[in-house]
């Protein structure tokens, strides 16, 4: 009894002190563990990025806004950015419409089935983008499987133009980016407690009602995460639109490569990249005002 009433500052302070020291040590250890990655990011990402931005403001080694003037005044650039954003938007919506039911099915079905669904989503992910583009060509082209079938059934007289245009580009891009939609969605849906749905139905909610009032709102952070990932990745697509677009689907990355060929200055290409980067950062900023970055990146 005596002991408990006696003030014993030492005993109380000790563990506190210890944990602070422990925390500090852990802090340092973490920092040390981070160093290699930080170094690599700085050397391979930050420095080149800074160099690229610096280049975009230079003509013949002195400061100039010539490259930005070109990007902002030439109609080619606006049309290309417009098309890039439009395709990215359509691809994102299509990926959401296809990916949401998939992720939902993987969440609610028995484990055996959900594994199968996830495997079907992920296995193509391991195949080269080039191979998948050619596979879609075989399916979609004039003499391709789909057109042959449609004509064989007498549904069309002449082959449909399914590829070498924007449509073909979108189909192949959606396929390639689908895992980036399904995986964050699945991760979010997994964390939604099933009890909530049970509670909903015990209170008399119809399955539809429960889905829209309980499940869907809780899955929204996954929706946003998937949409952001797919949208941003799609903005930089190169090989797929090049192969599937028939030359007419000019996306921003192709402008970068064209400008390296066409102009003597690296800056001509850098400026395009910087403008695209700014647009992406703006999008991230706007999205982050709606939902926190940690949520998008799956930390919370």
């Amino acid at each position: 009894m005596k002991e408990t009433t006696l003030p014993n500052p030492g005993l109380q302070a000790m563990p506190k002190d210890n944990s602070a020291r422990f925390q500090r040590r852990e802090h340092h250890l973490m920092l040390a563990l981070l160093m290699p990655a930080l170094l690599i990011v700085t050397l391979l990402l930050i420095v080149p990025l800074g160099w690229m931005i610096a280049q975009s403001f230079q003509v013949d080694g002195s400061f100039s806004l010539e490259h930005y003037e070109r990007v902002l005044t030439d109609g080619v650039y606006w049309r290309t950015f417009g098309l890039t954003f439009r395709i990215s938007f359509i691809v994102t919506l299509a990926a959401l419409l296809l990916g949401y039911p998939l992720a939902y099915a993987a969440t609610v079905l028995p484990r055996r089935w959900s594994l199968m669904i996830l495997a079907l989503v992920i296995v193509p992910f391991w195949t080269s983008v080039l191979v998948r583009a050619y596979a879609w060509l075989i399916l979609l082209q004039r003499s391709g499987v789909i057109n042959q079938t449609l004509m064989g059934l007498g549904l069309t007289d002449a082959p449909l133009a399914l590829v070498h245009n924007e449509f073909g580009t979108i189909v192949a891009t959606v396929h390639i980016l689908l895992p980036f939609m399904v995986l964050p969605l699945y991760a979010t849906m997994q964390k939604i407690p099933r009890d909530l749905m049970l509670a909903g139905s015990s209170l008399g909610g119809s399955p539809m009602h429960i889905f829209w009032r309980v499940f869907f709102p809780l899955s929204l952070s996954g929706v946003l995460a998937g949409m952001t990932l797919v949208f941003v990745l799609c903005l930089g697509f190169y090989i797929t639109p090049e192969l599937m677009g028939g030359g007419r689907t000019v996306m921003a990355s192709m402008l970068v490569s064209r400008n390296i060929q066409l102009y003597v200055e690296w800056g001509a290409a850098s400026a395009v990249s910087v403008v695209l980067l700014l647009m992406v950062v703006t999008i991230f900023y706007l999205v982050s005002r709606l939902v926190s970055m940690e949520r998008i990146l799956g930390v919370k």
Binding site: G75, V76, R79, T80, Y134, L137, I138, Q141, R142, S143, A161, H164, E242, L243, G246, G247, R248, V250, L255, R258, I260, Q261, L262, V264, W266
Partner: protein, 356 residues
């Protein structure tokens, strides 16, 4: 015991890792050694073919070591090496265009032709102040013989004639060669193309645009289009048509009104082995080694003197883009025009044309 073994293995691995790291240092240390060059080509079957026909024999006869590298698109690398002022490449085999604009920007050495006697017999169109022709290919009119039967298309006029030659077409998603074809379709003679009338060419292209199913970007894609019957007519590289014909596809082509294109050899400005590099350029365009190239690949020698050696059969010569008979039917691409301001402007305009 086990631990010791484990330890030794670890040390050996570390040593191995260290020596790999040290390798570039060793190479730099050897720079002073003059009897070697770094030669850069475009990789693949083409680089293998020239290794057998040209590079190995030349290395042997000159007594030098040729370190090979591949860069399908050498231009950004040429730029970078020029910008740093510390080139690591010596000789580059690259589309002529790159040699000329590189030369004009001070990235490529001017050639001293008195040191390259093998170039003497070559026509002026095969040389530039910075480079010399190494091999030829051609952008030809290829078609599906099943579609056109006894009356296959033979000229660009036919390619543009959608009434008599129906069917989807493909052209390269690039103005080089395509503008030339458009002008020939509009009646310009193959030897009177340059300077190109760019407005006229783009106007003519507008005519055919609705019938062009695909504007191809890679050689593999062009082969796939004709092979799978996606298009009935296509302007593509002769080597690609030959390869799908060999694979048994329904395909044929004509050299008539083809656009004869080349890659040239050029030497990087202040190359580490400048002197050996110049010797190499001369040896690599010697008629004998040049004549051996078509044994391994469907490209024509850059030096026409190769056809006067007895190393190329008549039958083989008839198949090659740069044989005198075939070259006479074609337009020789003027890369100097394409690297001039007018040429660059014509290239810039391409994307506008594609987007409209």
């Amino acid at each position: 015991m086990n631990q010791i073994q484990c330890f030794t293995r670890k040390v050996t691995t570390q040593l191995a890792a260290f020596s790999i790291l040290a390798l570039p240092l060793a190479t730099t240390a050897q720079v002073a050694h003059a009897d070697q060059i770094t030669f850069v080509s475009q990789g693949g079957a083409y680089q293998e073919a020239q290794t057998k026909a040209i590079l190995d024999p030349v290395a042997q006869s000159l007594g030098i070591t040729i370190n090979q590298e591949s860069a399908p698109d050498a231009w950004p690398m040429i730029r970078t090496q020029g910008a740093t002022g510390q080139p690591i490449w010596d000789v580059v085999d690259t589309p002529t265009f790159n040699c000329i604009r590189g030369g004009e920007q001070g990235l490529i050495e001017p050639l001293d032709f008195s040191r390259i006697p093998n170039a003497e017999s070559m026509p002026d169109g095969y040389k530039t102040p910075y480079s010399v022709a190494y091999e030829f290919y051609s952008s030809v009119l290829a078609y599906n013989p099943e579609t056109y039967g006894d009356h296959p298309p033979q000229t660009w006029k036919d390619f543009w004639d959608i009434d008599n030659f129906p069917g989807p077409r493909a052209l390269r998603n690039n103005p080089l060669g395509t503008l030339e074809a458009a002008l020939m379709a509009d009646g310009v003679a193959p030897d009177e193309l340059y300077p190109l009338d760019v407005d006229r060419a783009y106007e003519k292209l507008e005519e055919i645009k609705p019938y062009v199913a695909t504007w191809w970007t890679s050689g593999g894609q062009s082969a796939q289009l004709l092979h799978d019957g996606e298009v009935d007519m296509i302007m593509m590289w002769n080597g690609r048509v030959s390869s799908i014909i060999d694979a048994g596809a329904q395909a044929a082509f004509t050299y008539n009104q083809g656009v004869l294109q080349s890659t040239h050899l050029c030497v990087i400005k202040d190359a580490p082995h400048l002197d050996t590099a110049m010797k190499f350029v001369n040896a690599a365009i010697a008629p004998d080694v040049q004549a051996d190239l078509p044994k391994y690949i469907d490209y024509g020698p850059g030096n026409p003197a190769a056809f006067q050696t007895d190393r190329i059969s008549k039958a083989r010569a008839a198949e090659l883009p740069s044989s005198p008979e075939n070259a006479a039917k074609q337009a020789l691409m003027a890369y100097e025009w394409w690297s001039s301001p007018e040429g660059v402007e014509a290239e810039r305009r391409w994307l506008e044309f594609m987007q409209q």
